[in-house]
Symmetry: C2
Subunit: 307 residues, 2 copies
């Protein structure tokens, strides 16, 4: 008898907190790190001497005053055409893997690949110049002893671990402050869950923690083989790391190839290719309003409101 009542209730009641746990989680606090190493890393992050040309720094493609990316469809690196839209460095520490293929398993590995492949670092020259610098030897000494590649990478990564953006309206909402979202944003969040967006864009980073096929319902128009390029397995064709949606309102353009310019278009394409449905304009507008509530703060200011 009890079972029948529960079953009837389950049929009749709309999905809600009683039956579905919240798929999103508030952003955790940044990992505790050495402030001195982070400060050194920040200096290195902005130092173009780390690139072979002397003109590129980490900050050239990961602009902290905007969304932690470059705002371009595809980055412009000196080594030729680069196939993927620059992922934001903000909250990267919370991704399970890095890059669109998810082939980089740690911030250390990402920093090394970015320096060596994209920035064409000449380590011998860089170490020589930093060792002859007025300031660096004094900063490295107490933290790492000498200046070497390992120390540079470690300082950079330590700084990156501080690049988290707390206090987005969604975080305050998830902590119980209902009014942090506007009524339309709350409607948008409900739709976000009902349509199933939150099946992939979930957890603390609202994505960034699993792989998914681009184009479950119909072949998405791309010549990018996805993780097949890493594994050589047919089942990995068009499989990409699901990106985090945090700060998505300030990191246009979108998708792996940067070909999608607006959130409206991005939501409509996701609905069509990932969920096999067509959303009404109004539903898209509500979800986009919700996506604006995912923009967090860095150094006391909301991203996108930077001077």
């Amino acid at each position: 008898m009890t079972r029948i009542v529960v079953f009837l209730l389950w049929i009749v009641l709309p999905p809600g907190p009683l039956f579905s746990a919240e798929p999103l989680l508030p952003l955790p606090p940044p990992p505790a790190v050495s402030r001195d190493k982070a400060a050194l890393g920040e200096r290195l992050f902005h130092d173009p001497r780390l690139s072979g040309s002397g003109r590129l720094s980490c900050a050239s493609c990961h602009r902290l005053e905007s969304g932690g990316d470059d705002g371009l469809p595809l980055p412009s690196v000196p080594t030729g055409p680069y196939p993927h839209n620059t992922p934001t460095v903000f909250n990267a520490v919370f991704n399970f893997r890095l890059h669109w293929y998810g082939d980089l398993h740690s911030l250390q590995k990402q920093a090394l690949v970015a320096l060596q492949r994209d920035m064409q670092v000449d380590w011998m020259r860089v170490l020589k110049r930093l060792r002859a610098d007025r300031l660096y030897p004094r900063l490295f000494k107490p933290l790492y002893g000498i200046i070497d590649a390992d120390g540079i990478i470690d300082a950079l990564v330590t700084f990156e671990r501080t690049l988290v953006t707390p206090n987005a309206p969604i975080d305050r909402f998830l902590r119980g402050e209902t009014a942090a979202l506007t009524p339309r944003q709350r409607q948008g969040y409900r739709l976000f869950k009902q349509y199933g967006c939150s099946a992939c864009h979930q957890g603390a980073n609202i994505g960034g923690n699993l792989y998914q096929k681009l184009g479950i319902f119909g072949e998405y128009d791309t010549r990018d083989p996805g993780r097949f390029a890493i594994t050589g397995k047919s089942e990995d064709l068009r499989i990409f790391r699901v990106p985090s949606l945090r700060n998505v309102a300030v990191t246009a353009p979108y998708f792996h190839d940067g070909r999608v310019e607006t959130l409206e278009k991005a939501v409509a394409l996701m609905a069509e290719y990932q969920l096999g449905t067509r959303m009404s304009k109004e539903d898209i507008a509500l979800i986009v309003e919700f996506l604006h509530s995912l923009t967090g703060h860095y150094r006391g200011r909301a991203l996108g409101d930077m001077p």
Copy 2:
């Protein structure tokens, strides 16, 4: 009654000329071309001034004194890693498409891509230098008037159309001279047809005239998406242009990635992945002996016997 007799004959008789037309054809004569344009093209083909660095000519990767390729697993171009083994320029005129993806539909297009992408031609500089040359203006004048990119491409292509390698033992055999193949080569040819190699490697160029999936029986170990990279269609994953087998004995290493060093290995892999069978060592040896009969002549000498 007649049908039954025919059916019984079909069952009893071994496959042979009575029931299967020869899948291979003798090499056609080279297309008729202007000798003066071909001579000019030959000069350009060997001229390193056509490359941005001034150090690469067409002949750097397409060495006519060996197999019309570079003998390397992958070519070494100044623009970074190049994913595909260099196809031979010999008999390229008889391929239905060019390159491993078959994305280039004409010799003109191939020459243009090779010059612009791989050789990083600086057209302005090249035209200036050729126009100031002692010889080129005199050669171009009666053929093309002025020296321009179109004329350069046309002369190169005209020369390439002369790069055919007739008089391979297989051609003499196919024209009726049975003794042109050794008895073991004839056995190898029979196996080549019986196993089904000639389903793809057929016609005048013994391949080069259709697309096929690499790895029909089992996933071949490669991260190369094949024609998917051109079309973005899932069904084109691992689809490549079937290469010509003419002169295959002098164009090691093999396959799109140049990872296969010997003909024995190449035949064994093809048997496993394309035909779903394991060949005995003896059968492989016989087929390899047959493959040596596909080596033709260029300027009166067998390829591979060049000084």
